[in-house]
Symmetry: C2
Subunit: 140 residues, 2 copies
């Protein structure tokens, strides 16, 4: 049988920080805030030992945060997952709602981009033809 071993590689907080891009401080903060799914294991000396599964979860957290999900909602999601099976519909709903927002955000940014592109083109053109004055009004 292909033993599906959990390959618990016992990563230190520093390692996890490097892998996730979160600071050591942020990792402890996330834990305090209940943003993790399970309690992190500890060595006899009290140090945190993260597993690959923990890291996977954190990587998802990073993506959700990066796309603007507030910590409170991330926490809610973690709670759902922690609570186990039976609430998949709610999880899906949460993710779906977030996805909508991300898409709206992308559209908004694309519009900003086009406004900015237009502005820069006005300046670029102006510079190309020399200082012709009359440009210093806010609209231009």
């Amino acid at each position: 049988m292909a033993t599906t071993e959990p390959r618990a590689q016992a990563l230190s907080i520093g390692e996890v920080a490097r892998r996730t891009g979160l600071s050591v401080h942020a990792l402890r903060f996330y834990e305090r805030e209940g943003l993790l799914v399970g309690p992190v294991q500890r060595t006899t000396g009290g140090r945190r030992r993260y597993t690959e599964v923990d890291v996977d979860w954190l990587l998802i957290c990073v993506k959700l945060r990066e796309s603007g999900m507030p910590l409170a909602e991330l926490k809610r999601f973690a709670e759902l997952v922690r609570h186990g099976p039976g609430n998949e519909a709610e999880r899906l709903q949460l993710l779906d709602a977030h996805q909508q927002r991300v898409e709206a955000q992308i559209r908004a940014l694309e519009e900003c981009r086009s406004v900015i592109a237009w502005k820069t083109s006005v300046y670029a053109e102006h510079l190309a033809r020399g200082e012709a004055g009359g440009l210093w009004d806010p609209t231009a």
Copy 2:
């Protein structure tokens, strides 16, 4: 001659708030922070009277803010414009740098979107085939 009248329609702060989507508070705050190009005109009674030009500038500010430009940078831009002609190259550079960031942001969001889309599809599939257990691990 086509008199290019500045059609100064004397808008109240409330009107401008409605038109720009900024709150009245935010408008006063922006002014205090030096984010406006010129000083806003006042009535004899001391109330602000905005012109269309002011609104145009504010609309640009809104777009820049919406796309993540920090107030400090917006202030810098306002200063350049206020200072008049001769610094167009610097203005262009500032806008250009921002545009790069907006594009990077869009790319990052698109990646987040695809991660989230994958996650939701996992849940959706799971729900479609009934609660098959074994899904409640953070990776799924």
